[in-house]
């Protein structure tokens, strides 16, 4: 029984650029229509920019690939107008089980905190995610150019010249900025002579997507050294359409082609699920991975995002999630630069904020990989000891690492922050992402993250805001009790609001300053700082 999913074909269309006498100029061009590139194109388009999006292929992801999308990523896609169909299609899961040898060692429950629009995670095949993003990009008028391969790139002082190969031959255009979202083996990176450096892991892994024919629990199961696959690990995770991801560690020396044969896979899966569970094989792939990153992501007018900039192992779902969150950091800044509102130096803060974020993702995914695939006898002894102790001793469960799930990075040390001048009890400090909460706005029930402005937002308790604040450009004021109702008191609780608290929130929904009863001039100064305009005299 196949899943019924057929990859769409997005047809190549000849663009008028190809018939122009001189190279046509585009303000911003995105290379690569994966989750990161599509998100970049959608966000920039929603901020009023004409975007050209190039992809060397003519379809979405072949195979399920990234399947686990985090709350923060869904919040970003919700702003893009894409989260609803993903939530409808995706699978929500909470229970995780860890097995060692023949035994269940422990289970965990990602018990969600109530009062957030988005769940902690959904599982959804990457092809569905990309189809939804492509539909949104097309709807917004993004100039999608399929079967366009970048074969040349030359950076001048004011423009980047790109040479493209298409089914109709080659042509050239120029771009003000290029967002390189062309994946782990980025051609743009190669053309510029740049590298992404880090650790190569030699262990091979086999993905088998199987379709279950009967109900099966929506849980994440992780085995260390199970009887049906000795000395290796196995992960079972549910996706949409009753498809389950089975991820077998194969080791360094396995024969990848042989391992993918259905006669080799079937006995393992039967031993794992039991002989009476009916299933069919849908898709297989063998992969190895790297944990690596570029030493900087901004190179003049070329800005690297997603796997092109940083690559991690799959444990922890930090690849696509990290990529989309990086894009969300970059696009509002690039938009300000393109609109002439901020100097180009604002883009340097993308490096300042996202390089540490990528380092954290690389660190977590490297540690998980080292735990799952011990590299020495002694590390195997420690791992197995932690697993043996974990059944009886809760402390040992904290040592077991089958992937530390993606969480948003806090830009605590960002130059865009205005540090706290006084003590705050709880609430997100500058650099942290905004927690969501249910609110009522304009007579309708909504969510705080849905009513934040497209630019900056001041979220404040009633009476904490000076009159002049409402006249600041690009600032949405949300006074609790005036502009929004805190229906369940969760805004007050999650932001540690007292009599005069006020939070300044960036366009990407991270806090950049907070005060008690701020003057309009303090808010202007903090906005200028967050926009890379320095701490100079504030003006309207």
């Amino acid at each position: 029984m196949p899943t019924g999913h057929v990859n769409p074909v997005y047809s190549y269309r000849r663009s008028s650029d190809q018939d122009a006498n001189a190279p046509v100029h585009h303000a911003v061009v995105v290379v690569g229509a994966g989750p990161a590139g599509l998100t970049a194109a959608i966000e920039l388009s929603m901020r009023g920019h004409a975007v050209v999006l190039l992809d060397d292929n003519d379809t979405v992801s072949v195979g399920s690939r990234a399947i686990c999308f985090s709350k923060r990523t869904l919040e970003i896609w919700d702003r893009c107008g894409c989260a609803e169909p993903m939530l409808e299609r995706g699978v929500q899961w909470r229970i995780g089980k860890v097995f060692f040898d023949e035994d269940l060692v422990y289970e965990f429950n990602l018990q969600p905190e109530l009062g957030h629009r988005m769940p902690a995670f959904i599982n959804l095949q990457q092809y569905y995610v990309e189809e939804i993003l492509v539909a949104r990009a097309e709807h917004l008028g993004v100039d999608l150019r399929w079967r366009h391969k970048v074969i040349g790139l030359e950076q001048g002082a004011d423009v980047v010249q790109l040479r493209l190969a298409t089914p109709d031959g080659e042509y050239t255009f120029t771009a003000g900025y290029v967002i390189a979202a062309d994946g782990a083996s980025s051609e743009v990176r190669g053309l510029m002579g740049l590298t992404s450096d880090g650790q190569v892991f030699n262990d091979q892994f086999l993905i088998a997507d199987i379709v279950m024919h009967a109900p099966f629990p929506t849980e994440r199961w992780f085995w260390f050294d199970p009887p049906f696959h000795r000395n290796q690990s196995v992960l079972l995770h549910r996706q949409a359409d009753n498809v389950f991801r089975v991820d077998f560690q194969l080791g360094v020396d396995a024969d990848a082609n042989d391992a993918q044969r259905v006669e080799r896979i079937a006995p393992r899966i039967r031993a794992m699920l039991g002989a009476d569970v009916q299933w069919t094989l849908d898709w297989t792939s063998v992969y190895t991975f790297r944990c690596r990153m570029m030493n900087r992501f901004t190179h003049g007018r070329v800005l690297f995002v997603g796997d092109a900039a940083h690559q991690v192992s799959p444990f922890g779902a930090r690849g696509a999630n990290g990529g989309v969150q990086g894009v969300s950091n970059l696009t509002w800044k690039l938009s300000r630069v393109l609109h002439g509102l901020s100097p180009e130096t604002l883009l340097e803060s993308y490096d300042a904020e996202r390089i540490p974020a990528a380092r954290e993702n690389v660190l977590h995914s490297t540690r998980a990989t080292d735990f799952i695939t011990p590299k020495s006898r002694i590390s195997r002894v420690f791992r197995d000891s932690a697993l043996r102790l974990a059944r009886r001793y809760p402390f040992a469960r904290a040592l077991i690492n089958s992937g530390r799930l993606s969480t948003p990075y806090a830009y605590t040390d960002s130059p865009l922050n205005t540090p706290d001048a006084t003590q705050f009890e709880g609430g997100p400090s500058p650099g942290n992402v905004c927690p969501d909460a249910p609110v009522r706005c304009a007579g309708r029930n909504s969510w705080l993250l849905n009513v934040l402005g497209p630019g900056f937002t001041l979220l404040a308790v009633r009476g904490a805001v000076e009159d002049g604040t409402r006249r600041i450009d690009d600032l949405t004021v949300l006074e609790i009790g005036t502009d929004i109702e805190d229906t369940q008191g969760l805004v007050a609780a999650r932001y540690g609001m007292d009599v005069a608290s006020a939070y300044l929130i960036r366009p990407d929904q991270h806090v950049c300053a907070r005060w008690r009863a701020p003057q309009a001039v303090q808010i202007r100064t903090a906005m200028r700082c967050a926009c890379g305009l320095g701490a100079g005299a504030a003006h309207d």
């Binding site: 977590h364 540690r367 080292d370 735990f371 020495s376 006898r377 002694i378 590390s379 420690f382 000891s385 932690a386 043996r388 102790l389 009886r392 001793y393 809760p394 402390f395 469960r397 904290a398 040592l399 690492n401 530390r404």
Partner: protein, 66 residues
């Protein structure tokens, strides 16, 4: 003996523990582990805790090989 998580950064500790053994032979690793146990035991100091930990570790190994 504390049985619930008590390390302020369990992942960082674990990574440092494995890294401390890098490039060691089995004999060197065994010697390092012995020294590490003696250092930590002295730091803990209290016999009741140490005896409980010794029992817990021994029983866990016995259970595994039963």
């Amino acid at each position: 003996m504390i049985e619930t998580p008590n390390l302020d950064d369990a992942d960082a500790f674990y990574a440092a523990l494995i890294d401390a053994h890098r490039d060691f032979s089995d004999a060197q690793s065994e010697a390092m582990n012995a020294r590490l146990i003696l250092l930590l035991a002295n730091h803990i100091g209290r016999s009741d805790v140490l005896f409980e930990a010794l029992d817990a570790a021994r029983n866990s190994v016995l259970e595994e090989h039963r």
